[in-house]
Symmetry: C2
Subunit: 274 residues, 2 copies
């Protein structure tokens, strides 16, 4: 068990275990975005850092089939930040909030050596909550979009290279329309934040320690690429045509990778705390 | 304008400006609690750190006349933390959550050099929201409890001393019962987190740049003692007897310090970012 899982295991709430906590018609999600853990200042502008931190959090809400409404933003910022830098950061938050129809209703700032952004998103369910736990044996398993770009971007940055503004690593594309339209046909779903293999192992574990029968073996550069924010989901094969139709309508690429089986699934990637 | 105020001024939401954001019947509040900014590890046990970080956040909700229901906890923790340390920390969160009837519904953990705790509290209003902005000229201004102990405790810690478990600095007492019963009689209110004088200047500014006519000059050690988490509030003099009765019922000491006047109020304390 990871230290995170150990720490969280102390809280006996039934709401814990998904991308967000469902309470009535609301979903609450919260993620930390920390300098030198999730990003380096040299990699991205302050505006991009603010945008990505918002996207990462909005992704959690959308992955639960919820529409983000409000955001609370807590930031730890270096004392020497100028007013121009603060404006740039605020502009990044505001731009993403506006794009997704979210109102920033509060927050807190404090001084610190390293930047840290903690965002809480309040969202309203758009129908049933899309959770990790209901994948059934026989269900098809799929993900949206293309995987691997984020890892490629990260590798480039770690080697001292730079990325264009629109790359996946800097600005992931969320699949809100696809999720909202297809959620009623899906048995389980989550966003891919730690890599397809790692997140798949979580989904299958939450669904009663089931496994996956793969159609075709996928390469590690795809299985272990984190921070993709594509959707991973499962569905009963009878909904396949309906889901493919929605994918077409919303211009979403769908990749079916196999079906849920009894054999236990093991993550193929190394644990990394980069 | 402080950098915090400047940063926050970029977000044009009507919800910003109080201890929490009121949306319908809900109040959302979020505060950061950071190592070497708000606390030093040597000063308190991990359990006490967790407890105080919860109390600071619960105080915001209570100060708005709202009952805390759910908490989301984000923590940045040093990698070398042992399982025993994680348990101690979790125990602190759980103890305070239980005492105030709050369910911890989610959160996030990440590794970092310094501890940082970011808590979001979801609460439900117990009647009208108690805001900062409605103090009227002629209203009486008062605070609960005794002030100065927190500053005394902090000074002792900064000089290398230690504090008993029950001191105000380690475990502030929140005035929930008094607030819930008296809120209908109060014109404005907030908790004292940055010191009576600083917080009073905020309340009077939000109420239309009004001022204070003091009954008696108060000493700085009392005016500038932060992290007290006592309540500061104003009320029409006709409610004085009703409020004193509730104070007696709830065993809350009330100190009337003057009344709202037209002359602008200035904070007497030095800005400190300790």
């Amino acid at each position: 068990m990871s230290k995170e899982a150990f720490f969280i295991s102390h809280f006996g709430s039934k709401h814990i275990g998904d991308d967000g906590a469902v309470v009535g018609n609301y979903v609450y999600s919260k993620d930390l975005f920390c300098e030198d853990i999730h990003f380096k200042r040299a990699w991205m502008s302050l505006e991009q850092i603010a945008q990505k931190s918002m996207l990462v959090n909005l992704s959690d809400a959308i992955a639960m089939n919820a529409k983000p409404c409000y955001a609370l933003i807590g930031v730890v910022l270096p004392k020497q930040f100028s007013h121009a830098q603060l404006t740039e950061l605020a502009r990044g938050f505001e731009a993403m909030a506006k794009r997704y129809g979210v109102e920033i209703i509060g927050g807190d700032t404090t001084a610190g050596e390293k930047m840290m952004i903690s965002i809480t998103i309040v969202s309203t369910l758009q129908g049933k909550a899309l959770e990790r736990k209901n994948a059934k044996v026989g269900d098809l398993v799929a993900y949206t979009g293309k995987l691997g770009h984020s890892y490629k971007g990260l590798t480039r940055l770690l080697r001292g290279g730079s990325l264009s503004k629109k790359t996946r690593f800097i600005r992931p594309t969320l699949k809100a329309n696809f999720v909202y339209k297809s959620a009623k046909y899906l048995s389980s779903g989550m966003d891919i934040s730690d890599g397809l293999s790692k997140d798949l192992s979580r989904l299958l574990k939450e669904s009663g320690n089931v496994g996956l029968h793969v159609k075709k073996k996928l390469p590690k550069r795809l299985l272990c690429s984190g921070e993709e924010y594509e959707m991973l989901f499962s569905f009963n094969p009878r909904h396949k045509q309906g889901i493919l139709r929605i994918a077409q309508q919303t211009r979403t690429k769908i990749n079916i990778i196999g079906h849920v089986a009894r054999k236990r699934y093991r993550c193929v990637c190394k644990e990394h705390h980069f």
